[in-house]
């Protein structure tokens, strides 16, 4: 796959906003390094799916959203969660199944929801949240509050009929929903081209939906493009479909180690060394603002220390009491 040519405008951010975007991307990356360590050291129950490599998509888009705007996320959801404002301690606690977690330990990595920040939840059914995101857009329109809803999904969800049912309704009713397809090229262990006929953008275009195709590794491009689409949606001009070319650095999940049968080490290396979203943004930041590598290093150091404290907190936090097992089945 050749990513489209980058069309970065000169300054899509103020200095402060740019630093915040950097910080958010770094927050996702550092979160996942720790998540991976927790898995490898057998401290985390179950598995998790790493977002590393795709950070520019979540952050580039979520930096336009308020806490009243909603998102829905996927099994690969840590990035969206952090980008939408979630805090480390509650996230790590949830990852470890502790009561202090966002969902009292009852959701886990694949179901983190953070209502206060407008995150309606990660979803372990591929494409399963498309209805929820569209319904949230329906709500926003019914109340006329100008909120938007963003539906993040992998290109694997293009195989699910639900997505097309709700995109039809969103376009028909001009709902403020942005469908963000993160094409990291793999549906688990299968290259998307083996299972995806025709053009991806031909699908939303057939509904008459506004579309955009961006290099998902370039946060400037993601951010600038998302702005137009989100502004339109807020004004009642209807939904949009944003296709972001990207790449996951890790396996499908943390246990997917031997993967040369479906993708080569060279391919992985190429993405990491030439298209890393954080490196690309670092280069851009330092040449467009008076920001030094040292400034960025101190941001990173601060995040790392927060992460260590949060992991510590989570590891020492209690599991939910046994009496919790049948609580919250019904409201």
């Amino acid at each position: 796959m050749t990513p489209p040519k980058t069309t970065t405008p000169k300054k899509p951010w103020t200095r402060a906003a740019a630093l915040r975007a950097y910080e958010q991307m770094m927050r996702i990356r550092v979160f996942e390094e720790h998540a991976n360590d927790l898995y490898l050291s057998a401290k985390m129950p179950g598995l998790t799916h790493m977002y590393t490599g795709q950070e520019a998509v979540a952050v580039g888009i979520c930096e336009h959203l308020t806490a009243d705007d909603t998102i829905t996320s996927t099994h690969r959801g840590h990035g969206h969660c952090v980008a939408k404002g979630a805090a480390y301690p509650e996230m790590f606690a949830e990852l470890l199944g502790r009561e202090a977690g966002y969902c009292r330990g009852k959701g886990g990595s694949m179901h983190i929801a953070d209502q206060e920040n407008g995150n309606l939840g990660a979803n372990a059914i591929v494409g399963g949240s498309a209805g929820i995101a569209t319904g949230s857009g329906f709500s926003a329109k019914a109340r006329g509050n100008g909120d938007v809803s963003v539906c993040f999904f992998g290109e694997g969800a293009l195989g699910q009929g639900l997505l097309f049912e709700v995109m039809n309704m969103a376009q028909l009713w001009k709902l403020p929903v942005i469908y963000v397809c993160e094409n990291n090229m793999y549906n688990e262990y299968t290259h998307y081209s083996e299972v995806t006929a025709g053009e991806i953008l031909g699908r939303p275009q057939a509904f008459g939906m506004r579309t955009a195709h961006v290099n998902g590794q370039d946060i400037n491009e993601v951010h600038t493009t998302a702005k137009d689409l989100i502004d339109r949606a807020r004004k009642g001009e209807g939904p949009a479909f944003m296709l972001c070319d990207t790449y996951r650095y890790h396996g499908h999940h943390v246990g997917d180690i031997a993967r040369d049968y479906y993708r080569s080490k060279d391919e992985e290396e190429e993405w990491k060394s030439t298209r890393d979203p954080i490196n690309l943004f670092t280069a851009w930041l330092t040449s467009n603002f008076k920001i030094t590598e040292d400034d960025l290093a101190s941001i990173e150091a601060q995040i790392r220390s927060e992460a260590e404290q949060a992991v510590d907190f989570a590891l020492n936090a209690p599991y939910p009491d046994d009496s919790e097992v049948d609580q919250h089945v019904y409201a």
Binding site: G131, G135, L172, H328
Partner: protein, 334 residues
């Protein structure tokens, strides 16, 4: 009928009772809306929703594309963000198409979020055979959803229950699925006129008192049981007819108490017999009333075959009053 505090009543059809409940809730709460196929001007193929669009407009009585999973999902998302949607699924058979949205999404969101998110969603759909509609428009699939923690399932059998349970479903903060028997729509009954006539979900109703045998009947089978009870009475057998009204939550206590009193129990339900609602209810009663029972709990349910088209065949698949009478007589005089 043992409905408390009903105040004034009015005679109306089951369909009108549903329509009235929806109209009152739409009027009372601006977050309530209805979406489904042909719900607006057409008022559904059964005309149950006729007239609602005239009062509430197409913004609140919304015709959707033929995308059951899609608009159910939209309902879930709208419910999570402050609305109280009523999703109309034309035939209960189409539950197959919405199962992921119902089972993996709506039912689990509250629990998975540790109690933070709520899904106050109502799904209204149908059950019941003998309309000569063949295998894909005749099933009674309420057991499927009754199996899932996090869902509530209501089965109104009278116009009054149709109103009271619909209003309860809409006001409840959980996903509630209401199954309406297609053959009941034109049945008439007394319906409380109060706008606050809301029946609690999880409370059974004794539809007829009796001392000799308990007939636990759901939905369409309540009328079948009542008719059987009349015949039995002429033979000196007094049957008690208990309608659980909701299969989830199930009012175990009332069912068990009745079985303890009569010592004999037959469960009658229009779902398939194998793994059906009748199986669960029979297990609950057997367990709770074991030492009081004079005979094993019996079950009458739909035969374990796809519903056939040929009228003579279709009629064989569903319990009839005669089946109930003969089962009761055998139970009492073995």
């Amino acid at each position: 009928m043992s409905t408390p505090n009903v105040g004034t009543t009015e005679t109306m059809t089951f369909a009108k009772a549903v329509n009235t409940a929806l109209a009152e809730e739409l009027r009372r709460d601006p977050t309530v809306f209805i979406m489904g196929e042909d719900v607006a001007e057409a008022g559904t193929p059964f005309k149950v929703l006729s007239g609602l669009v005239d009062e509430f407009g197409t913004e609140r009585v919304i015709d959707t594309p033929i995308s059951e999973a899609g608009f159910t999902g939209v309902g879930v998302g709208a419910a999570m963000t402050g609305m109280r949607p009523v999703v109309d699924i034309m035939f209960g058979d189409f539950l197959t198409l919405i199962m992921d949205q119902v089972v993996n999404q709506a039912a689990k969101i509250h629990y998975m979020s540790g109690g933070k998110l709520h899904v106050p969603l109502t799904i209204r759909t149908t059950l019941g055979a003998t309309r000569r509609s063949a295998a894909q428009h005749s099933q009674s699939l309420h057991a499927w959803v009754s199996h899932i923690p996090g869902l509530k399932v209501a089965l109104p059998s009278t116009p009054a229950d149709a109103k009271g349970l619909m209003k309860a479903a809409i006001r409840d903060d959980n996903p509630v699925i209401i199954f309406e028997d297609k053959l009941s729509f034109q049945e008439k009954g007394e319906v409380p006129t109060s706008e606050d006539f809301v029946l609690p979900l999880g409370v059974a109703d004794i539809k007829r008192e009796g001392r000799d045998v308990t007939l636990i009947a759901t939905s369409s089978m309540v009328q079948v049981a009542l008719e059987a009870a009349k015949t039995l009475a002429s033979d000196g057998i007094e049957a008690e007819v208990v309608d659980p009204r909701t299969t989830s939550p199930l009012d175990d206590a009332t069912l068990i108490e009745s079985a303890k009193k009569t010592g004999r129990c037959i469960v009658i339900d229009e779902g398939h017999r194998r793994y059906g609602a009748s199986a669960e209810i029979a297990a609950v009663v057997s367990d709770g009333a074991f030492w009081w029972l004079d005979a094993p709990v019996r079950r009458l349910a739909a035969m374990d075959v796809p519903i056939p088209f040929a009228p003579n065949l279709e009629d064989l698949t569903v319990p009839t009053p005669a089946d109930v009478v003969s089962e009761a007589v055998t139970l009492i005089n073995p």
